[in-house]
């Protein structure tokens, strides 16, 4: 019917308009640099008629009536312009670029808002800032870009976890990761499933006045990701491709062949078995050892990490549409090799976004995203102790081949036994096979309908389904296989997670009511359900030489020998996690001068007993745009100024399921007749009273915009206090449990953040854009719910050490705890008995006998803090480091000169400590045949240049006149001490990019609308005093209470990338 009407209208209109003297106005729309603007909308005022400019920027519009007609020219990214034309001559319209940071639109809490009208604290990164950085990880792209958002990579492994904390994170033991909202729908772990090329912008909501509308899920901040959508107009096809390589910036210096042998000589003198073993392996006389001066050292780090690991990334996208329908299809594929042999990362992402306007009232849209990812290689680290981590083999393996041993490319069993299980790192890397495959589908959709004028109903639906399969294989030489009769072991773990969410909102807007009042009311409802299930199968005792692929494809092939059993398969299904919410928001603005937003949200979670499950969060924010007052308008240099204040409370329910019920799991096992039987065991001590954790935030912000928006400054001061923390509280172990999840404890984070953006130079041929941000945060534990302190172990040392983190009321999370290093014992601190050639510590000198046995000259010494003369774990440790930076930030500069562009991104972290556990491990002498860091070359020694053991005090003093460091610790005790705590401050040239866009007039001949080539280097240089591989490290991430440990981390690469961006 309507079609018929439409045709009839056309039928009649055409002749009518002819009668009414039509005129045709033509023209060309260009930007500031004179380049044509394609797809700009040209609308005749007063009519509903509109056309679009073609690719050359030309338009032609036919309007009725004679005389002048006003045309409205608009295009995304430009200030809308009104021109007058009469059709007599072509118009030339120049559009001025919109200063993006002020009039950008932000999706905040189920609705869009203009950035300038924000009343809460938000940090944003736009596509413009992202485009130069050809990264495969969307999370890495955030590092240093946002004030108050700390992005820390756990290590340099391909696909490594990246920890994101918004303003420090409030919870002590629960997950502090933020909520991710992609195009209005929650997506778990979004940063690892979206290609950076598909992202249009990031907005991070930092205070409760903006996050509260998301309720509980937003308690740790909200990262809002907007993906690129199509634009009406010509279909644009573009290709972004890059290739390059990664390389290890530097290796750790270790002892060379001669120094290694010399140390082994010294190490084995005390024990006759060891010294005869030394003689068999390395030679019998001191003089023969000099031969090792000519033996070139094998740099195992180079062998294992030294390759130029290739990197390839392709992204093809096609976008376009008409006024009713827009779409964007993007396909990304990347394949990168890790530095470590056998490791790598492959990812394919398909992303399709579709938006359609059914009519004036209804819109629908959906996004389909498919991810297929594989992470290859076992990496260097896992959650276990020294014995199960791998980096040490590259440092501690003997740096040369010896005559009587197998060559360096073969497994040396005798050496493995003689060195406490050190293996050839290359062989070990090959011996452990790991592959993690992730396949995920994300579907999101929305529909909106204008029920009546200003009243919009909107519904969104999100569904994602992620399958993760982890395959592990340990060949016969690995420690894992050695525990199973030295036969290969394989395991397959599969996990499936599914999330469904639905939200429905009604929004009523009134603009400029009685000229002054603008307000909107939003009410809504939302449900979220998450399901997870997993299963795990491990088979041991495979045929000795089976390949990983064969083993993993034949899990039934392992046969347990007599007396041994195969592990039982396990599976687990979580009860569904459900959240039901109701929310509402009122925003009111008076004349753009005063802005007020009030939110209310009720969340009900299945994590709590029904009676405790609901929590009502109220929040609000207000802003005063003082520049809109007459008295301020005279200040021409200040184009916009706004003061914001926000206050809100949100909840957190990220704990295990059903902790309010006393439940049993099948975690016990006991052997009868040497056969394992499963046993029931209580999962945890139920706590019926569990309820929401509450996080109150207060934020005071100031936004200033100078020189017509060319300079923008935001300052935010905040204080967040979390209470009723869902804390794994230590309870008397006599209850049968050591912890119970309780609502106890409180933390606070306070800080200040600065963001400064400037269009420093805006010339026709040269622009310089600069963005700077910096955040200071101070974390404090206010209450631990009873105990005043808890100690935690980073766990790398197993039971051969003591807890090395202290969680204490009044201090921040991340306090490193240990002994204070006091050099080494000096010869004059001992009485020497010339008859027995023994040294006895003088009275009054503190002894560390309780740690490493009776002290001798040259042995490491700690401070006797309690003054009792004996260094003990109980009495002489203190806080020796703090993992929290004083401030961190970044500075991004982008330059454009004619066709050339360049950008430099620098990020910095200041004032944090790193617990360099690697250094403790790699300077230790508990076992023979291990290499050490080169710093130990200057150790205190008992062996003189003739190979004779010196005991006489005078000679020993002369021999060690220049000794800089203690003799390696000979007992297997890995205590944290202050020497291993290092300043983690750094300033990194994170990214340097140079690009060239080939002039249009050249490329258009090849039907290409733009063509850019570029070269980038990531991690170009780092200014730091840190002695490890890289200061951006936190390897023990399974426990949030032990941040800042550098142990067995995968070294970070420097990446060289060359690429093209082509748009057709």
């Amino acid at each position: 019917m309507s079609k018929l009407l439409l045709s009839l209208t056309f039928f009649f209109l055409i002749p009518l308009s002819m009668i009414a003297q039509n005129k045709t106005i033509t023209g060309k729309v260009v930007d500031e640099s004179g380049s044509p603007v394609a797809g700009a909308s040209v609308l005749a005022r007063g009519s509903k008629k509109g056309v679009q400019t073609n690719k050359d920027g030309n338009f032609s519009i036919t309007v009725t009536g004679s005389g002048n007609t006003e045309l409205i020219i608009s295009s995304v990214g430009f200030v809308t312009k009104m021109v007058t034309g009469n059709g007599n001559e072509p118009l030339s319209v120049q559009l001025v670029k919109e200063v993006v940071t002020q009039d950008d639109v932000v999706v905040v809490g189920y609705a869009t808002t203009k950035r300038k009208d924000l009343t809460g604290s938000i940090s944003s990164v736009s596509a413009k800032q992202l485009k130069d950085i050809p990264l495969t990880s969307a999370a890495e792209a955030l590092q240093g870009k946002l004030a108050g958002v700390q992005v820390t990579a756990s290590d340099g492994a391909p696909g490594a976890d990246i920890v994101i904390r918004v303003r420090g994170g409030g919870s002590i033991t629960q997950d502090n990761s933020p909520l991710y909202i992609v195009d209005g729908v929650q997506v778990d772990n979004a940063l690892s499933v979206i290609a950076p090329q598909d992202i249009a912008s990031y907005d991070v909501l930092k205070d409760a006045s903006t996050t509260a509308i998301y309720g509980a899920r937003g308690a740790n901040g909200v990262v809002i990701i907007t993906t690129k959508s199509g634009r009406s107009g010509r279909t644009i096809v573009s290709y972004n491709g890059s290739f390059g390589w990664r390389e290890l910036p530097e290796t750790q210096k270790v002892l060379n062949s001669y120094d290694f042998v010399r140390w082994q000589y010294e190490r084995t003198r005390a024990n006759s078995t060891d010294s005869s073993s030394f003689a068999q392996t390395y030679g019998t006389t001191w003089d023969t050892l000099n031969n090792y001066k000519n033996v070139p050292a094998i740099n195992w780090q180079e062998e294992v990490f030294g390759r130029k690991a290739t990197y390839r990334n392709h992204n093809v996208s096609m976008s376009g549409g008409n006024q009713a329908t827009t779409f964007n299809l993007s396909l990304s594929a990347s394949r990168e090799d890790g530095l470590l042999l056998e490791s790598g990362f492959d990812r394919k992402i398909a992303n399709f976004r579709f938006d359609h306007k059914l009519n004036d009232k209804a819109r629908v849209g959906f996004t389909v995203r498919y991810l297929d990812q594989a992470v290859r290689g076992a990496g260097t680290t896992n959650s276990g102790t020294r014995t199960t981590n791998r980096l040490r083999h590259s440092i501690q393996y003997r740096p040369f081949e010896v005559k009587n041993a197998p060559p360096a490319d073969q497994f040396d069993e005798a050496y493995y036994q003689a060195s406490n299980q050190i293996q050839n790192p290359v062989i070990l890397t090959m011996a452990e096979y790991r592959r993690q495959e992730t396949r995920a589908v994300y579907l999101t959709g929305y529909a909106s309908y204008n029920l009546m004028k200003n009243l919009v109903f909107r519904t969104t639906l999100g569904y994602d389904n992620t399958g993760i399969r982890q395959e592990l294989f340990y060949s016969k030489i690995t420690p894992t296989a050695r525990n199973a009769s030295s036969l290969p072991t394989a395991s397959i773990g599969e996990q499936r997670n599914q999330t469904i969410s639905n939200s429905n909102t009604l929004q009523y807007n009134v603009n400029n009511f009685k000229k002054h009042h603008t307000f909107s009311v939003l009410i809504g409802e939302e449900i979220v359900q998450r399901d997870a299930k997993s299963n795990f199968t491990e088979t041991r005792y495979f045929p000795a030489d089976i390949s990983p692929k064969n083993a993993l494809a034949n899990m039934g092939l392992g046969a347990a020998p007599t007396g041994a059993t195969q592990p039982r398969p396990s599976s687990s299904v979580n009860p569904p996690y459900r959240l039901f919410s109701l929310f509402g928001r009122i925003s009111y603005a008076y004349d753009d001068k005063f802005l007020v937003t009030l939110n209310d949200r009720m969340d009900r979670s299945s994590k709590f007993k029904y009676e405790n499950g609901a929590l009502n969060f109220m929040s609000g924010s207000a802003a005063w745009r003082f520049t809109k007052h007459k008295f301020m308008e005279k200040l021409g240099w200040l184009s916009d100024g706004k003061i914001r204040f926000g206050y809100g409370a949100v909840g957190n329910d990220r704990i295990g399921d059903l902790l309010y019920q006393q439940l049993y799991g099948v975690t016990g096992e006991y052997a009868l007749n040497h056969n394992i039987l499963p046993g029931f065991a209580p999962v945890a001590l139920a706590n019926e009273d569990l309820e929401w954790e509450r996080n109150v935030t207060r934020n005071l912000g100031l936004d200033l915009s100078f020189l017509r928006g060319r300079i923008n400054l935001s300052i935010d001061v905040y204080k967040n206090s979390a209470k009723n923390l869902l804390l794994q509280t230590p309870i008397p172990p006599t209850s049968g449990y050591t912890f119970q999840t309780r609502n106890l404890g409180a933390t606070s984070n306070k800080g200040i953040e600065f963001q400064l953006g400037a269009e420093v130079i805006q010339k026709k041929n040269f622009t310089w854009t600069s963005n700077f941000n910096m955040g200071f945060n101070k974390n404090k534990i206010e209450n631990l719910g009873g105990p005043t302190q808890i100690t935690k172990s980073a766990g790398w040392q197993g039971t051969d050490g003591a807890d090395d983190y202290l969680v204490r009321v009044g201090d921040p999370v991340g306090q490193m705890y240990g002994f204070v290093t006091d050099g080494f014992y000096q010869i004059n601190e001992f009485d020497y008995n010339a008859t027995t050639a023994t040294y006895t510590l003088k009275a009054g000198v503190p002894t560390n006998i309780s740690l490493y046995g009776a002290p001798q000259p040259g042995q490491i010494k700690y401070k006797d803090l309690n003054g009792d003369g004996v260094i003990t774990v109980d009495g002489d440790r203190q806080v020796i480091g703090n993992a929290n930076p004083k401030f961190s930030g970044g500075w991004n500069n982008q330059f454009v000169y004619k066709g050339f562009d360049a950008s430099v991104f620098v990020n910095f972290v200041y004032g944090n400590d790193i617990y360099n556990a690697n250094k403790i491990e790699w300077t230790d002498g508990a076992f023979t045949n291990l290499n050490m860091l080169n710093i130990m070359k200057d150790r205190f020694t008992y062996i003189n240049d003739q190979g004779v053991r010196v005991t006489d005090p005078t000679q020993l003093a002369a021999l060690n006149a220049n000794a800089k460091i203690w003799t390696p610790i000979r007992t297997q005790r890995y205590y944290a001490h202050s020497w291993a705590i290092e300043d983690g401050s750094y300033l990194r040239i994170n990214n340097l990019t140079v690009g060239y866009t080939i002039p249009k007039n050249i490329v258009t001949r090849a039907k290409i609308s733009s063509f850019r080539v570029y070269a980038t280097v990531n991690n170009l240089a780092t200014l730091t005093s840190y002695s490890g591989y890289d200061p951006d490290v936190t390897t023990r991430r399974s426990d949030p209470l032990t941040p800042g440990v550098d142990f067995a981390g995968y070294p970070r690469a420097r990446t060289w990338v060359f690429g093209v961006n082509v748009t057709f």
Partner: protein, 607 residues
């Protein structure tokens, strides 16, 4: 026209209904059920599930934090028999040297595991009798549930027994934690806890069957309950350290101790009267070498109560043979093992040369990479009941050998009877002597002529029991606790120091060096005129072959002169070097425990 106006409102109304509907169904939506986990009623729904719950209680007997290594191989040393090897280290060696730091992780984990077992047992003890089948089920169901009930009562008693003998007065919850109104449970007097447990065990005796009535496995049977009750009664009637925090404590024994000796004697008498259930195996060595190391069953069932091991993991398997026993080279066909526990020279010489128990309890050899045995010096002997080189079939890889841990053997029952009877009767009765001699006769391979004269006076007989228990149970985690209940730990440590020094200078009794040669993989010692392959020279002061060609000499007695065997001290001073009477008889509560108690738990005396 009309529709246009109404439509939006209808839609809003529908939307509101949707929300209202969801809110109404909210409770149903929000309350979710466990899937992989089980509620208490599900677990205690039938015999099979209840059995799985009881297996969960047994779980806390075995593994690295239980009787797999820590409780049974770390806690019973240093004593006057065996010690932990190596220098003090803040960990297990500090336990041996009695130099305990509150942060010592070796204390915390087993302590927590013992209480975890008690909590699991408390849940079963509460729930099993509440099951309808317990009272109204079929006869088979009732029998089986009663057995389960008796088993968990027994396991709980064993776990508390371990806690009390190491920590003294400990908090003693007897109901599950979810029923407790207050988790800061104060310490209970050990006498009243023992009395409760002894009563529980008496009850359990009627609930569980004799071992011949059921299939053979490691589950608790009537013999185990009775033997444990006897043992616990001996401890209830023995000495233990009492006192308050801050000061040193005193070793005390309750005035009514004979009541408990009587209780022990009665339980032992019941067991001895049922020899068809458990009796002595005529071959002492076979208990360990044949049955424990091969995982087979002793037809005499001398082992009355044991913890089962298997599965090759740290949770359900044991480390005996890998941590204890002779040092076995990792490259040998047996795999890496031993060396964690050292046998003291005085123990070696506590055995008569014909006593067959010496070469089971003490090992004087190590196994080299090429599988050959090599003798060790007198100051380097190791324990021997759980050895990797005895494992059949060979298991060269891994930490776990599947050796069960023996709690109580029949010889313990015989000797407990003799000891209790001597104390009650003011001297040994004929039965007491008979049982004592039965143990000794077996030790000499059944040759009663070698066992010597049994003392007839009370003190003499008691001392004979003290020495006999040393020889019979060396390396079984028994000695230190025996000495504690007799209040002899300090005395015997001092005596051992003196004895080792005496051995060092006993030039006319023991050889300075011994000479040996390799015969296949075994060792043959030079033993003068005795040319048997198995002859040993350890009791001959002079035994140097002449000429020495073909023989290798190693230090024996002379080795003890080393000045820095342990922590820079000679062996006789280095072991148990921080032993402090009035303190070291008990462990301290760890810092983690004290912190968790927020100052509401009093520390043991001396710490």
């Amino acid at each position: 026209m009309k529709n246009k106006f109404i439509n939006p409102f209808v839609k809003i109304a529908a939307f509101s209904f949707l929300i209202a509907g969801l809110t109404g169904g909210c409770k149903k939506f929000i309350e979710v059920e466990p899937v992989s986990q089980f509620s208490i009623p599900q677990v205690f729904s039938d015999v099979t599930n209840a059995t799985t719950a009881v297996i969960g209680v047994y779980d806390e007997l075995m593994g690295d934090n239980n009787y797999g290594i820590r409780i049974n191989l770390y806690y019973p040393y240093d004593s006057d028999e065996m010690i932990v090897t190596g220098g003090i280290d803040g960990g297990r060696r500090d336990i041996g040297r009695y130099r305990l730091q509150l942060s010592n992780g070796e204390l915390t984990n087993p302590f927590n595991a013992l209480y975890r077992g008690i909590e699991k047992a408390n849940l079963c003890i509460e729930q099993i009798p509440l099951m309808p089948q317990y009272t109204t089920g079929t006869a088979a169901e009732q029998k089986e549930l009663k057995r389960l009930h008796g088993e968990v009562l027994t396991i709980r008693a064993q776990l508390y027994f371990e806690l009390i003998r190491n920590w003294g007065d400990v908090p003693a919850p007897m109901i599950p934690a979810y029923r407790q109104t207050e988790l800061f449970i104060p310490r209970s007097d050990r006498d009243s806890t023992y009395d409760k447990l002894l009563a529980d065990l008496l009850k359990a005796e009627d609930l569980v069957p004799w071992r011949t009535e059921v299939a053979r496995n490691e589950r608790v049977t009537k013999g185990a309950v009775k033997a444990l009750r006897a043992k616990m009664a001996m401890f209830r009637g023995g000495y233990s350290l009492r006192g308050r925090k801050g000061a040193l404590g005193t070793m005390e024994r309750r005035a009514d101790y004979l009541t408990y000796y009587q209780m022990a004697k009665q339980e032992c008498a019941d067991l001895i009267a049922n020899r068809a259930q458990h009796t002595l195996n005529p071959n002492y060595e076979s208990i360990f070498k044949t049955y424990i190391a091969q995982g087979t069953y002793d037809p005499s069932y001398e082992v009355i109560f044991e913890a089962g091991a298997g599965g090759g993991n740290s949770n359900s398997d044991s480390r005996m043979g890998q941590y204890s026993g002779p040092s076995v080279n990792a490259s040998s066909r047996y795999g890496s093992g031993g060396g964690g526990i050292q046998s003291l020279p005085n123990l070696f010489y506590a055995y008569d040369s014909a006593d067959k128990r010496r070469d089971v309890s003490v090992t004087y050899y190590q196994v080299n990479a090429n599988n050959t045995k090599q003798p060790r010096r007198l100051g380097e002997l190791t324990d021997g009941k759980y050895r990797r080189d005895w494992k059949v079939p060979l298991q060269p890889a891994g930490l776990n050998l599947g050796f069960n841990w023996v709690f109580i053997r029949f010889s313990d029952v015989l000797l407990m009877f003799a000891e209790a009877d001597n104390e009650i009767s003011g001297g040994p009765t004929a039965l007491a002597k008979q049982y004592y001699e039965e143990v000794r006769t077996r030790a000499f391979g059944g040759n009663a002529s070698l066992i010597g004269t049994t003392p007839t006076d009370k003190v003499g007989f008691f001392n004979a029991i003290v020495d006999e228990r040393l020889r019979e149970f060396a390396g079984e985690g028994v000695r230190k606790f025996d000495l504690l209940r007799w209040n002899l730990l300090g005395t015997k440590i001092a005596a051992a120091r003196a004895r080792i020094q005496a051995i060092t200078t006993a030039t006319t009794s023991y050889p300075d060096s011994v000479w040996y040669k390799q015969v296949g993989e075994d060792i043959q010692f030079y033993a003068g005129a005795n040319t048997a392959l198995t002859a040993v020279p350890f009791y001959r002061p002079t035994n140097r072959p002449n000429p020495t060609t073909g023989w290798t000499g190693i230090q024996w007695r002379r080795h003890l002169t080393s000045n820095s065997a342990i922590d820079g001290l000679p062996l006789y001073n280095g072991f148990a070097s921080f032993f402090t009477p009035g303190k070291s008889e008990l462990f301290p509560f760890s810092q983690a425990t004290l912190d968790a108690y927020q100052g509401k738990l009093e520390q043991n005396p001396g710490y």
